[in-house]
Symmetry: C2
Subunit: 329 residues, 2 copies
Amino acid sequence: MKPRKDTSIKDIAAKSGFSTATISRVLNHQGGYSKETENRVMNIVKELNYSIKNQNLQKIGILVPDLTNEWFAETVRCLEEELYAKNFHCYISSTNEIPSREHFCFEGLTALKVSAIISFLGSEELVSLAESASFPVLFIDRIPQTPGKFLCLESDNYIGGYMATELLIQKGCKKILFIGRNHHASVIHSRQKGYQDALKEYQLPINPELMLQLESPDHPYERSRDLVCYAIKKKIEFDGIFASSDLRASGALQALKQNGFSVPEQIKIIGFDDTSVCRQCYPALSSVRQDPLAMARHTIELLFWQLTQNPHLAKHMVLPVSIVERGTT
Amino acid sequence: MKPRKDTSIKDIAAKSGFSTATISRVLNHQGGYSKETENRVMNIVKELNYSIKNQNLQKIGILVPDLTNEWFAETVRCLEEELYAKNFHCYISSTNEIPSREHFCFEGLTALKVSAIISFLGSEELVSLAESASFPVLFIDRIPQTPGKFLCLESDNYIGGYMATELLIQKGCKKILFIGRNHHASVIHSRQKGYQDALKEYQLPINPELMLQLESPDHPYERSRDLVCYAIKKKIEFDGIFASSDLRASGALQALKQNGFSVPEQIKIIGFDDTSVCRQCYPALSSVRQDPLAMARHTIELLFWQLTQNPHLAKHMVLPVSIVERGTT
DNA sequence: TTGAAAGCGCTAACAA
DNA sequence: TTGTTAGCGCTTTCAA
């Protein structure tokens, strides 16, 4: 920690002999100066340790609900890599799943003068903030309920839910438990819709007793385990479980083991996201994979299309998912 | 996404009848105006959708090596909560464990005109960047090798390593495998030193063959599992494992199960960090707990002390760790 | 390719 | 409590 007073472009101008205008041009890569001038200026910039504070970096804000969720963390990481390759800085802000925090975080990113925000949240609040922003907002994963006006990108959660359920049915399951979460986010609803439609398609009854909902996003493993234990205690019968996330599936698996059920012989399980926990369970957990890297690449592609071509672009893109079968099915 | 041209405080001044100076004061919460003025101004600010872009928010940068590591993600989350309570915005930047990215990320945060940076990285590079910064940098977890000049905060990794090893010894282990990582970070070295000193204290031999090092931070579970499988194949004998992280411990546990060893009867295991994976293993994993919330609280306390009192404060703080015993010991 | 000078948006000193 | 005014740091225009 050094100077109290920051060096300004005036200092660089003085030391280099150029005018502040030239320094400004060089720092903003605007062109209209010689290579030699650039070198001289940049050397003095380093020498004086110019704060960069005012340099116009390319900035992207990333808004997430929860970084302790591995799928978010991994997708953010992929986004960072893609953005780094284009020399964009990215700044992450997390609401920690607190809705009232969304406004605060969005304003925080806005204050950075970012070129765009990539939002993993699509609440009404955020849609309204995005509408009045002077830069594009791209929604991914939890997209708005009416995606019409914005760039939106999501995995095919509906088909994922359908395929997961279909797999369990094809393996002989007749009574499939669904573990969801009470939340307005689009992703959970789509997965549950896929589950219900698969049951219908195979002429199995849709039993509300078999659709369990967690109340909070915290401790998905423990809450899900307890929920399944409770279902067993209540003598609810089932021979398959489709959980809306891997951690919930893993908790369910634990509940079954504790109660002496054999997996996959008596009861089969499949999760969603294909995160690392799948490979750490025993038996290893089957899951619906949504690829973080593919998600990140398409996001950045859309974003740069937006930034460079069409400032009023609206588009809704759906990425395919795939089944990864392991020991629990 | 709306206006091409941002509204400025001039617009608000015109519309409200006040001068730009008053608007500036209100926006920066500097006081010296009536409650009524504030309300009038803030209403027009909302009405005109003033960009906030220039509003002087209180900003803190957080620099982390890897957000997919649960301990980092959880500690960052706690930091965010503490900072939110003080109305500070925080901006997270991750190097994704790539050393050459440190400069890029630090500059990115500097460009935001943050009041301070909290860094989970303490490399030479960062020390040099911190020295020439015009704001305080607080190092936590992976603190610099010569912490003298800065605010530094870490868990007692040495004692943690010592206690973990001691616990295994007291439970009867004579040949304890250590799983570390080839990295200059202070934390791993301290844990390994604690391991070695505990062995010495109990007059057990320090066998280099029993100290395994992972080469990369990626896939700790898989790499650790493979490493232990390899050790078993090579007929290296051991009856206890101290792993320098929970995921490495979990991978080791998996390797033992695959090879037909019973845990904790034949071989005991303990990890480090006490992350959620400990409760998801079977048997549940014992671990050395370093509390994310305590870490965050002390960090913020030190930081605000620095920001409000002494601008040239240097201090090295060490937080206690505790053993959490579960099924693997 | 460069500089002088004007301008923009914001802050701070001072006066009322 | 508020406005006037000067000033700061940066960008942009215009002329050379």
